[in-house]
Subunit: 272 residues, 2 copies
């Protein structure tokens, strides 16, 4: 029996496409083959639960191994119509396979447990695609955690999940509206607070700066429109910009974060 958008379990899952529904249920939707694969791996490691899996017939044909893995893990499977799949998707091209998962976030303290060396802090980043892409970059650079601080988008937003390409399931994610509490926790964990700021006096390649990049660091990234707020710049240990050697005014958030996080990752590995 194929479920439609009116089938109660599909209608219930659809609530998770909105933040309020996710908060109420403590669950979210991981859409697409890659996200579902990472979710099943995350559940297999005992880090959370995949509660059910919805799939369309064409998606099942494209990803038989995913359905087998879900079945083997005891995850209830339901075939859904294309229209039901569209209702569970926040993208214009629904991928036809969606897992209902426990939300992934942990407390800031848990995220920072165990002597972190490299952490990415999103400060008021409202764009879900940017937040997801920075999470992916942080994961690639070997960061120990990503903290969604202040008025930052919900990491479980569908576009954020998609842009993270599974990284939300790889490394600890925390969210905390109280920005001061996040910064204090980073300091208590022994991290230097370094703000990425296009107007900073020093850049990443400044000789004196290069010597500090190998220290345990929490990189603070603001929104594209507003950057890191002034009061945060005032309290950070340092502000650095990516050097602009050509005519561009700036980099976008994700590419700037990539250069910053890899500069630290490289410095930490070369020194160690």
């Amino acid at each position: 029996m194929v479920c439609t958008e009116r089938t109660p379990r599909v209608a219930a899952a659809r609530q998770l496409a909105r933040r309020a529904g996710r908060t109420r249920a403590g669950r979210f939707l991981a859409e697409g083959a890659q996200a579902v694969r990472e979710a099943l791996r995350w559940a297999a490691e005992g880090r959370g639960t995949v509660h059910e899996l919805f799939f369309t017939a064409p998606a099942a044909e494209r990803n038989p191994e995913l359905l087998d893995a879900a079945r083997a893990a005891g995850v209830p499977l339901s075939e859904i119509t294309e229209r039901a799949a569209a209702g569970l998707s926040e993208t214009v091209t629904p991928q036809g396979v969606v897992a209902v998962c426990d939300t992934v976030d942990v407390s800031v303290e848990q995220a920072l447990a165990g002597r972190p060396k490299l952490v990415a802090v999103l400060v008021g980043v409202a764009d879900p695609g940017n937040a997801g892409t920075v999470s992916r970059v942080a994961d690639a650079a070997g960061a120990d955690a990503v903290l969604f601080a202040g008025d930052t988008v919900d990491p479980h937003n569908g576009k954020c999940v998609r842009a993270s390409t599974g990284s939300l399931f790889h490394l600890p994610i925390a969210r905390e509206r109280d920005l001061t509490a996040v910064l204090d926790a980073c300091r208590a964990a022994g991290l230097r607070l370094v703000a990425a700021d296009g107007y900073a006096e020093h850049d990443l390649d400044t000789a004196a700066v290069r010597g500090t990049l190998d220290e345990p660091t929490a990189w603070l990234f603001g929104s594209e429109a507003h950057g890191v707020p002034q009061e945060v710049l005032d309290t950070a240990d340092e502000s650095l910009r990516v050097p602009i050697y050509g005519g561009a005014e700036s980099l976008n958030l994700a590419t700037a974060a990539a250069v910053c996080l890899y500069a630290s990752a490289r410095a930490q590995r070369v020194r160690s």
Copy 2:
């Protein structure tokens, strides 16, 4: 008199929203305040011509200095309706100010004149947003040129222009469908051909590799779906991957290009 989408000069400009129309006219549309500002600067430097400027009343109110600059440069100005502006835009949120410009591209030989040290080569990159963002990153990293090679998107595509945030006007851009000719020209210009390849044996941080990054380099970037084609990898001097220190499978094209281009830019500056 406000022009509508049926006014002949608006209808003519609308042809430039398609590749065939751009090729026929040798002109393209630079949309948005930032692109128009850079286009006027580019024209002031004698590098090309801005033929006319279309604006809506609200856009004129938001950017009076742009209209003044265009007027001072002798660029014909026409007020248009919101609907006409939408017809000239390839984005869902038309910005209401659009310049008709000469296409910016030069020959590969011109782009590589004058001992280039750092060049970005797009090999079969079909996504205009990615191509534009890589152009912006290359500009920021101080690259000497960006070459759109093989089956790569037209640099004058509206989404590419937008993602480049003006960088297309900053550094030499060339396009050439004959990929072999592009690679030969790079070699003739004294550039090492280094392909960015997620499956390469060596990564950017490999000690032996770090010593070569300061040499004059043409970085080859492929599409997200297919990467750099195998026959190009076979002919390149080297293939390198961005090291993945965490759980992510890969980086997206723009963030990978940022890490690669900045690694070269840094190495070239530290050594010199």
